[in-house]
Symmetry: C2
């Protein structure tokens, strides 16, 4: 046994984090051991505080410290437009553009039978409720164009059909600054398919 | 403000870890938010438990849950041979070889004026005490061959001279499976310098 029990468990804490391999987990565990006690106490308090304070917005399901969240409760945002995304981090990415003034709806994943994630595991019901209750003019689907993402986009747009609401999706194509030569075939095909008159 | 205060603090907890960049820290923070409450409680308990239970061996200064540590208190280990290493993880690396049956001494760093780490910040005093108190036949310096490592090796071996103890250091050279063509000049020079009759 190379590591003691308490230390192995500490390594496991970090190994469970996304993108952390065995070696990184060991480094992090040693880092925590070498930290002064008060820093560790502060770290624990920060984790506990974040878990206590951060919840989900009852409207858009995004992570938030107030309910409804800052975006949903902002009268300057156009609540008749909803942009549907997979994860809270997608909201951050879109907010960084400073180009979007509607609201969001976070699904918390996409339909993936391989990972046994079905529609009932996502916040789809909550989206349908918003559409049926509110005065919604447009739903923008901003799900990543993977197989699972495409399936989720199609599934949700079919559910939204009966409400007569306009459903759009973000454009797929060559990224700005990208080179045609290095674009993969599917992206290129999507770019041609989505061509616009100039 | 893209992230709430509690969330930014949570991101910072992970960003302070070694080898964790901004994006990874954000992913980890979201991971913790998505974890069930009981798992977070368990994670906190594991960190707290590790900090409480794991201390430093009073003999070799390695991290341990018992004092003296398993290696120092093992009668089958040759306590007259001490292998001096920088970090606890170096002990793990050497133990994995299953070729070494002596004991260790962990310095917890090496002399680095750039990071304002002087000899007094390392467990050098404790090493000298072991040498002066015990019946030591050999000290093997197993410090990495960086500029700081070399300086530390030379500094300690000079301090050990008066005790009349044999001081050796691990061989530097071409790693097994390595190709001469791809070895850097310094390694190659060290390999020639350290040549042995066959």
């Amino acid at each position: 046994m190379l590591y003691t029990q308490s230390f192995s468990k500490l390594i496991d804490v970090f190994r469970k984090m996304p993108g952390v391999g065995n070696k990184s987990a060991v480094r992090m565990a040693y880092h925590v051991l070498a930290m002064p006690d008060d820093e560790v106490q502060e770290m624990i308090a920060t984790i506990r505080n974040a878990k206590e304070k951060i919840g989900y917005c009852s409207v858009c399901q995004n992570t938030t410290e107030q309910n409804p969240c800052e975006i949903c409760s902002n009268p300057k945002r156009d609540s008749s437009v909803i942009c549907v995304v997979e994860q809270p981090k997608d909201v951050v990415a879109l907010e960084k553009t400073r180009e979007y003034y509607g609201t969001y709806h976070v699904l918390h994943g996409c339909i993936s039978p391989m990972d046994s994630i079905g529609p009932e595991d996502l916040k789809i019901k909550e989206l349908l409720e918003r559409v049926s209750n509110g005065d919604i003019s447009e739903i923008i689907m901003a799900i990543s164009p993977s197989i699972e993402g495409e399936a989720t986009t199609m599934y949700i747009s079919r559910l939204l059909k009966p409400f007569g609401v306009k459903v759009t999706r973000i454009a797929y194509g060559i990224p700005i600054g990208g080179d045609l030569e290095y674009a993969d075939q599917i992206t290129l095909a999507k770019a041609i398919e989505g061509r616009r008159e100039i």
